[in-house]
């Protein structure tokens, strides 16, 4: 059906409101994404193959059900913040705590502009925080991110194969994508968040400030200044 030459991204959209689900689904389709909508955080976790309490707290658990993980190719999760039972924040935490999906980009949406809420979500690892009503322009901003994550995943899989044969020099071979031990992934994000938070205190318009804070990063490799990325 899709005639676009661009790769297909699959987005999992989570919102308890039927109205909002319809809207986000159309927006995502218009942005040429494949969409799956669910009405709760629990259903989102189920869809990802993560069950509450089974995977995330057990450090010995291997990336759960790798078969399921591979069948469900999701490039981004976009979730409403205010939901009964499991909030978008709770879902974010569960996803980031999982070994299978900790690098999955998660975007939070909310109809309320609450700075503390926004900071909390960004600190927990949300890529973006959108104020509702979300617009097509907002979603189009996510594409470079989804592309990068998708490519990174592919590279990681390639590297894993080759690193079984050789050691060490593998990372130097592919300069476009930074393959680092996961620890240092956290550092750049921390500094990046400081930049965003500083900008937030300067500007009262949260969406605008985040655009300013994040869009400058978009035009450069995300972790520039921290590691020697391209």
């Amino acid at each position: 059906m899709g005639m676009a030459a661009e790769p297909q991204f699959h987005v999992l959209a989570v919102d308890d409101s039927l109205f909002d689900r319809k809207l986000i689904e159309r927006l995502l389709q218009k942005a040429s994404c494949q969409v799956t909508t669910v009405d709760s955080g629990y259903k989102a976790l189920e869809f990802l193959g993560l069950r509450e309490g089974v995977e995330s707290n057990d450090p010995d658990a291997v990336s759960t059900s790798p078969e399921i993980h591979q069948e469900v190719e999701v490039n981004l999760i976009i979730t409403d913040y205010c939901m009964p039972g499991m909030t978008g924040y709770d879902l974010l935490k569960k996803v980031k705590e999982s070994s299978a999906f900790k690098n999955m980009p998660v975007v939070i949406m909310s109809s309320e502009n609450v700075p503390a809420r926004i900071s909390r979500c960004l600190e927990e690892g949300a890529e973006e925080f959108f104020l509702k009503p979300v617009r097509l322009a907002d979603l189009n901003k996510l594409k470079p991110l989804m592309m990068k994550t998708k490519l990174k995943k592919q590279k990681l899989e390639e590297i894993e194969k080759t690193s079984k044969d050789e050691n060490g020099t593998v990372a130097a071979v592919e300069p476009e994508v930074k393959i680092l031990p996961l620890q240092s992934e956290l550092e750049p994000k921390q500094v990046h968040l400081q930049v965003v938070q500083e900008e937030q205190t300067l500007s009262s318009n949260k969406r605008k400030s985040m655009e300013e804070g994040l869009s400058t990063d978009r035009s450069r490799p995300r972790f520039e200044g921290i590691t020697t990325a391209v």
Binding site: S17, L18, F19, D20, L23, R26, K30, S111, P133, R135
Partner: protein, 156 residues
């Protein structure tokens, strides 16, 4: 035939512009229209249908919550107002959204009289909008039936 289409198109344009000028609709509605295409030709009317269903349900909830003999649970009213504010904002229903903003403050102030009055206004407002949009859709139908294309209305 041509002049009928042209007439209808002009009528349509003026009507839509008036809806914006009179504050019934805002640019979020324009955004919704831009999401409609050949693949989803009924998107706007489907979304509006959901919105008006929401209105009926939420206004009902608010009326029931305000109709308690004894203490009124304003947080319950507020929860419905919050939802309605969200969906009216997402649909571009400017006047309804504006009323919800007032309504929210009245709930927080636990102003019973104010809430009752505001609820009545919300009820009138969403029904008015529904009728106006119905007229708009009817004009669109007439244009198509006369062999014309529904014009894109430039709001600026």
């Amino acid at each position: 035939m041509d002049s009928l289409v042209a007439q209808l198109q002009m009528q349509y344009r003026n009507y839509v512009l008036s809806l914006y000028q009179q504050g019934f609709l805002d640019d979020q509605f324009t955004e919704l229209k831009s999401l409609q295409d050949d693949g989803s030709p009924d998107f706007v009317s489907e979304v509006l249908s959901l919105f008006f269903d929401d209105c009926v349900k939420l206004v009902g909830n608010m009326a029931r919550a305000l109709d308690q003999t004894g203490t009124v649970d304003f947080s319950q009213v507020g929860a419905s107002v919050h939802q309605l504010k969200g969906s009216s904002s997402s649909v571009g229903a400017k006047r309804v959204k504006g009323l919800c903003i007032n309504f929210k403050e009245l709930c927080e102030a636990k102003n019973y009289e104010g809430c009752v009055r505001c609820l009545q206004q919300v009820d009138i407002e969403y029904k008015t909008l529904k009728a106006k949009l119905q007229d708009m859709f009817n004009l669109e139908k007439q244009i198509v039936q006369a062999g014309g294309i529904v014009p894109q209305v430039d709001i600026k």
